[in-house]
Each structure stands twice: as C-alpha cells, then as structure tokens.
Symmetry: C2
Subunit: 311 residues, 2 copies
C-alpha cells in the first residue's frame, strides 16, 4: 500500500504501527513483503470501479479483465518478483451477470495464461448498479532481489524501460472517439513488464524500482520521499513518440522506473536488451536536493507538470 493512499484518515501507518507485524514489512512500497524463510512473498492489491477506472462503453469486458490482472502483476514485477497467483473479488449488477462476466473472465484468464499465474481464491457478489473488481496479485522473489522505493542512492542514474506516454495518448484518442489508433489499442491492452522486472530484480546494480502508474513526474516523488533524495530529469531524453506531457504526467504505462549505479548502467541496459528485447533509457540522475529539476537540453525547463488524474 502506498502510504498516501490512506490520506483520508491521516496517517494509517501510525494508527496500526503499534500492532504486531507477524513477519510483514512496514507499509511503503508497491507491494507488501512477507518473509518466507528461503525467499519472500510479495503481494499487491488494486480495486477497479466502473465509471471511475473503466467505462463499459469504451472498454470490452475482456479488456477490463485483462487490465485488472495487469495493473496488479505490474506492481509485483516492479519489486523484482515473479507473479505466481491471484485472488479475484467481483461484484456484479444484474446487467453484467452472464455475458459481461464471462467475457471478463476470459480476459483475466488470458493474462494468467500468458504469465503462468494461478487463480487461487476470490469472492463474487451482487451489486446495485456498478461493477466493482478487486484483485490481489502475489509473487515470489529471492530476498536479495527485492527492489524497494527507499533504495535510491546519490548519483544513481534514473532510467525507464520501453517508451512512455502511449497509454494516456490512447486514452485521449478514445475520449475523442478514435478507438482504433495504435495508442488506443495499447491503452486497452497494457502489458506488465513481468520478464523485465524479474531480470532487473536479479541485478545488484539496480537500486530502487517501481512501476509507472501515475506518470514519472508523480511517481519519482515516491522514490525521492522514501530514499530522502532529489532528482534531475532531462526531458529530451525521455523515450516517447508523443507530446512530452503524456510521457511525464500520463498514467498507466506500466513501464518500470528505476535507479542504477552510474558505473554499471551500460552493462545493465545491454543485459536487459539481450534478455528481454526491452530498452532501458537513462533520463536523469539522483541528486541531494529533495526537489525535482526538469532540464530541457541542459537548461532549466519552464514546463509545468501537473499530476495525472486516473479516468
């Protein structure tokens, strides 16, 4: 659980902090981590609500099922773990029972099959009018492979996998009725970086890691806060085919944001490309300042980067 997600009740971590932990690590990362002896169990949970996270008119049930799985296994992969199992809870109004729910399960199953993930539990129930979905994804990792937001070091290179901005560009296309652009298709069928997360987890030179769910402008702040560092990012280096605002403040790309020991960046990037076919791009560095500095070809940028509001 991200600490900020419970801001509605002040500091939930303090409220529950005095209770026993039973082997679980304190709240703060993409996933909860439980010591299993020889390795660790990591788990992440996300809730998707109709008309907040998806529209039945814009996404097929199969796409919603696939996406429900991907948003969660992306969190598991971002810790350097291999996703293994899920729990699925779903509440269905009458209008979504039958065909919609069957198509949803087909999409969920397709994602599970791609990555060899088990469905090991869940709950189904009625609802009055909106669909609510909750997915828990679990994964396993050797203890030394687990990457935390708190592990960034001064001088680290900030890097991202793949290209940014495609999902939010796709969302805008869909809002304008262009359902069949490449970006719109990518938005509806986002891929979690499962192989990449596992590979980067095994690299000692990778320090902090998380997935990009709200855009780097917002997500880098979690690493800064928990690692007690600052960041300098060069806009011209951000890998994207679209407007820089999609690439910096657009959500749901599910690419990985990581920090790497500077003298080993080239080695990690070429090993990742070799192992998975995915590029790793250096976009900045970790600084002492506690603030983000945005550079545009080396000069301070005037760009005002606001947060992304999930649709």
């Amino acid at each position: 659980m991200k600490k900020t997600e419970f801001s509605f009740i002040g500091d939930i971590a303090t409220m529950f902090g005095s209770l026993p932990h039973h082997g679980f690590e304190p709240i703060g990362d993409d996933c909860t981590v439980l010591d299993m002896g020889s390795d660790s169990l990591v788990m992440s949970t996300d809730m998707l609500i109709e008309d907040v996270h998806f529209l039945r008119s814009a996404s097929s049930a199969e796409e919603v099922g696939y996406k429900s799985l991907m948003v969660n296994i992306s969190d598991v992969a971002a810790m350097g773990a291999t996703p293994t199992a899920t729990l699925l809870s779903i509440s269905l109004p009458e209008s979504a029972q039958g065909e919609w729910s069957e198509d949803f399960m087909r999409g969920f199953y397709a994602g599970c099959k791609e990555h060899g993930i088990a469905l090991v539990g869940g709950d189904t129930t009625a609802s009055r009018d909106k669909i609510a979905i909750n997915v828990v994804a679990m994964g396993r990792a050797p203890k030394e492979s687990i990457k935390r937001r708190s592990a960034a070091k001064l001088g680290d290179i900030i890097a991202v996998t793949g290209k940014l901005g495609v999902s939010s560009k796709g969302l805008v296309d869909i809002m304008f009725g262009d359902l069949n652009t490449a970006a719109a298709k990518a938005h509806r069928r986002g891929q979690a970086r499962v192989e990449e997360g596992k590979f980067l987890g095994s690299c000692e030179a990778v320090h902090a890691m998380m997935d990009i769910s709200d855009g780097i402008a917002s997500d880098i702040k979690h690493i800064m806060e928990l690692s007690n560092v600052g960041a300098e990012i060069e806009l011209s280096k951000i890998p994207t085919d679209y407007d820089i605002r999609y690439a910096t403040t657009g959500g749901e790309d599910y690419e990985l944001l990581l920090t790497v020991a500077p003298d080993r960046f080239d080695e990690v990037a070429s090993a990742l490309l070799n192992a998975t076919g995915t590029t790793l791009t250096a976009i900045g560095r970790i600084t002492e300042s506690n603030t983000i500095t945005w550079l545009d070809n080396g000069e301070p940028s005037e760009l005002e980067l606001k947060g992304f509001t999930h649709f």
Copy 2:
C-alpha cells in the same frame, strides 16, 4: 474461494486448472492454502457492497468496519489458523469521504487490535455513489492443524460452537426498527471465533470445519459435497434462543460447524470449554446417504428449510 461462487462462468476451477499452482492448494475451502515449508499461510477474501451487504442507515460506519474484518478472520479461524494480517481495499463516494471513512477505520482497527492483526496493504479509490470494501485476511497454522471441508468421516458427530440464530434474528429486529435489542446489537457486532478455531485446529479428533455464514442448512452441504457423505441433524439439539428457522437458515452467525470423531467428542467439548469458555454442542452425525435428514425428537421433520439470502 468456494467453488459455487463462480457459477456465473461455469466451472472456473476447470478453466484455471491447467495453469501452474505454485504451491497453492486447489480451490474448495473457506481459505486458500499456501505451503510455507514449516507451516501454511491461509488467506480469505470477501467483498462488501453498500445496499447489498450493509445499509448506511442501519449500521454505523464503525460497525461496518468491524464487520468487514470479522467476516474474513472468521474464515481464517474456521481453517484452524491464527489470523495475522489483512489487506484492505475501499472505494468511497464523496458522501463517505471524511467522517464515514474515519469511523470505518476506527471499527476496522478495533477488530485488528482485539486479535493482534496487522494491516499490511490496501488500496483506496473513489466511486460514483456506493461504497465497496474488499478485505483479505491471512493467517498461519501448522500444516497438521488445517481443517478442511473435505475431511468429514462416516459416523462423525456434527457439532456447533455457541448458539445459533442470533444474527439473523437481529437483522429482522433491525428491519422492524428495533435497533437496540440484544440480537440487533449482536448482528451489528458479530464476533469471529478466533480462539476457538485455533484451539479446535489443534485437536486431531476434529475432522472437517467451516464457519457458519449462510446457516447450517446450507453450509453443511459444502461439507457433504466435498467429503462425499450425508448428514442427520436433530433440530431439538440445536442451541438457540430463537425460532428454529433463524438457527438453521439464518446467516452470519460466525459460529463454527465441525465434525468430530464420536468417541472423542466429550473430551474435545470439555477441553474447548476449559480453554475458551465456549460450548460445543452435538447436533447430529455424518451418514452415508448423501442427503440431509432433519429429525425432530427422533422423528423425521416436516420443516422446509430454505436458504438464507444475505442482506
């Protein structure tokens, strides 16, 4: 996940059966079970939807918070495990942000504190108009303590903890506007049998066990189906202060339903009373027939026992 809960897509267990299991047991019991080497991790998930599982006008936010926790740890206790941790997802319409959500967390926290349970992760999000809550409860148990629905044996005594029917009687009181009867209070603040589940888990003579969530008339069928046995229940022996229909088909009592080796029932019942102060009552026995026989003072009963529909 109970197998029947996914009836909306036919046999989900078959659909996902060919995927790797990664150390998780197949679907069928109150909880998912993961082999942890020295012991097992069990986990259960339940979704509560406003106007399906609770009404804001009839239950306080604190009561909903407390109940959200109890329904889940009841499943963990019913496996013979000790609840240790929870994940909480909650989606809040604007009208429930602020005071309602803070009171909800107070109720959830109160239950966690009573049983020494950690909150280790979760998600909060907006919703359009209804509150949706998903809780995952986790627990630990020595492997040999885990009680399954499939473990009932021919000739076993069928037994229940405590008294039945109070929760559904309380619900009816609330529906008639009697919010302050003892039953109504018990309905709003049901207690999971945490100590009892752990103790009965440690008893070798206890074979099958589950919690009573839909009434024994419905719940005993899960044991019958998975153990491939029948049941004979004597109505006059069912411990209750209310009409027999509440006690047999009323939901949400969170008492435990178990089967015990007949020659060791007295020993188990007196040890449970000693350890926890809770009574264990013999109400029938496991038969070969694959059907339920209801007896009334030894004679076949004419009572027609239908299922309970959760409010």
